[in-house]
């Protein structure tokens, strides 16, 4: 019976950063799955994230990594300061003295633990009196943070996280798929909606400041601010680059708020617009965009944006590549694969990597609560500024636009455009704003990428 109900079962209730923490994280995973399945909130992501969160909190070693500590010099091991007993593991603290090496010239080199971890007897690879050379392995620490330099994922979730997220491959390739799925026609028919996509990025910079005031450092603040762009893959990409230790908080915040757009945006829109403004009629028909314009767009957008913001190149390059596959008319197979099977596979991996990283240790921290709080402020301010700039634009436009379409400047494609459509029809049943809102909506995707590029330009 021992192995069946042994350590795993007991530590589920007693282990983690505080007693019962795995149970709490497990229940949060269940909540995500419930919201995905029953409420249909971003189910493609919340279901995998929630389920993997459940699994990893039942068995946290699934996110474990190991770290080999190597000798930095040639010499003889003179002191071994750690003595694990066979069959047990020794808890190692960060900066704990592990062993000493005497160099041929008599100098003593102290080897300290670069991170906390666990050491088993068989993982201590040297003993007193052994001769070692540079890069010889001295010992192996288990259960270290995957974010520690040189750590190697050893289990399902840690391997996917290391290979897909820390290398930034998954979020970038997801953009390729998104490019293949995105119709930039409404934006091309009405390029001034790009201004609304830019305006909504105000939320990103506003929350960047708020995060600094809450005590986060600049790189962390950038990763939290970008949640306001309502663009999950950009959030994952930027956080992986600047503050990977926050991924367990920023990624679910970005995706769950994208799902909550129908709850967050309407009160903000209503607060900033009168009934008369919400009823402003826009002709349902947009200008027809030629095939040539559609083909030229990804090329032009890539050139203009990469010239002006080179650090946005990976993001915009992947998005526009996918869009060119869609629009060029001769790569239908590639476009179909990128927009269907390819993006689905990546989404599964993304969900597993993010959900698998959400152990109680990584997720149940005060920082997470603050990130979720700041995320909702980012969404609300992005919505508000989009609406306000649309109202300002109306002061100069002959043909007025419905200011609600400014709210769609937060990307959240197509959720925020749908919100505008529903509210528009309520205010004026003749109105059909969906395609008008899709312009700022896809402009918001580009705006968020440019915002991420500016963050990387300054602190990357």
């Amino acid at each position: 019976m021992g192995p069946l109900i042994g350590g795993g079962f007991i530590s589920f209730f007693t282990g983690g950063p505080f007693p019962g923490s795995y149970v709490v994280a497990f229940l949060i995973g269940c909540f995500f799955v419930y919201m995905g399945i029953v409420k249909k909130w971003e189910p493609l992501l919340l279901v995998p994230i929630g389920f993997c969160m459940i699994v990893v909190n039942l068995f946290p070693p699934l996110f474990h990594a190991q770290l080999y500590i190597e000798s930095p010099t040639e010499g003889t091991v003179t002191v071994v300061n750690v003595h694990p007993i066979k069959g047990e593991v020794l808890e190692i603290e960060k900066e704990q003295l592990l062993l000493k090496i005497r160099e041929p010239d008599g100098g003593i080199v102290e080897i300290k633990a670069p991170t906390s971890g666990e050491l088993a007897k068989e993982d201590l690879l040297v003993k007193v009196g052994d001769q070692v050379y540079p890069r010889d392995q001295l010992l192996k620490l288990e259960n270290v943070s995957i974010l520690q330099s040189g750590a190697e994922g050893t289990e399902l979730f840690s391997r996917i996280f290391q290979g897909g997220i820390l290398t930034e491959i998954i979020p970038l390739l997801i953009f390729l798929g998104l490019g293949a799925l995105t119709d930039f026609g409404p934006l091309l028919a009405n390029p001034k909606t790009l201004i609304l996509g830019a305006a909504a990025q105000f939320g990103v910079y506003f929350v960047f400041f708020m995060a600094l005031l809450c005590g986060f450092d600049i790189k962390e603040a950038c990763s939290i601010g970008i949640i306001g762009g309502a663009d999950g893959p950009t959030t994952v990409y930027l956080t992986a680059k600047l503050a990977p230790h926050l991924l367990a908080a920023t990624a679910p915040a970005a995706y769950s708020y994208m799902a909550m757009v129908p709850l967050i945006q309407p009160p903000v829109i209503r607060a900033l617009t009168s009934k008369k403004e919400r009823a402003i009629y826009m002709k349902p028909q947009l200008r027809e965009v030629s095939a040539r314009e559609r083909i030229l767009f990804p090329l032009i957008a890539a050139v203009v944006i990469i010239w002006l913001v080179p650090r946005a190149a990976p993001l915009i390059g992947a998005l526009m590549f996918g869009n060119l596959l869609r629009e060029c008319g001769v790569t239908e197979r590639l476009s179909r694969t990128a927009g269907e099977a390819f993006i689905d596979i990546l989404t599964i991996f993304l969900g597993m990597a993010i959900g698998g990283s959400m152990t109680a240790e990584n997720f149940l921290r005060p920082q997470t609560v603050m990130v979720f709080g700041l995320g909702i402020i980012a969404f609300a301010t992005a919505t508000a500024f989009g609406v306000l700039i649309a109202k300002v634009m109306n002061l100069f436009l002959k043909e007025k636009i419905n200011p609600m379409i400014g709210a769609a400047g937060v990307s959240a494609v197509p959720m925020s455009a749908r919100v505008v459509q529903v509210m528009g029809q309520k205010a004026n049943p003749r109105n059909f704003l969906l395609m008008h809102a899709m312009g700022p909506n896809v402009a918001g995707v580009i705006g968020t990428m440019v915002a991420a590029g500016t963050f990387l330009r300054f602190v990357g």
């Binding site: 091309l188 790009l194 990025q201 910079y205 944006i305």
Partner: protein, 53 residues
Amino acid sequence: MVDWALATKIAGAGFGIVFLVLIILAMVLCGVSRLIQSLRRGKEGQAQQPRGK
């Protein structure tokens, strides 16, 4: 300790750059769209012109 000067620069310049880049992109797209339309009109005009003697 937060470097507020850098933070202000990131937010101010960053938001400015986002606006500038998207406005430039909008202008380029408008220009390309007009160019394509005028080229198309030119072609259609040529096609409609009666052939010379």
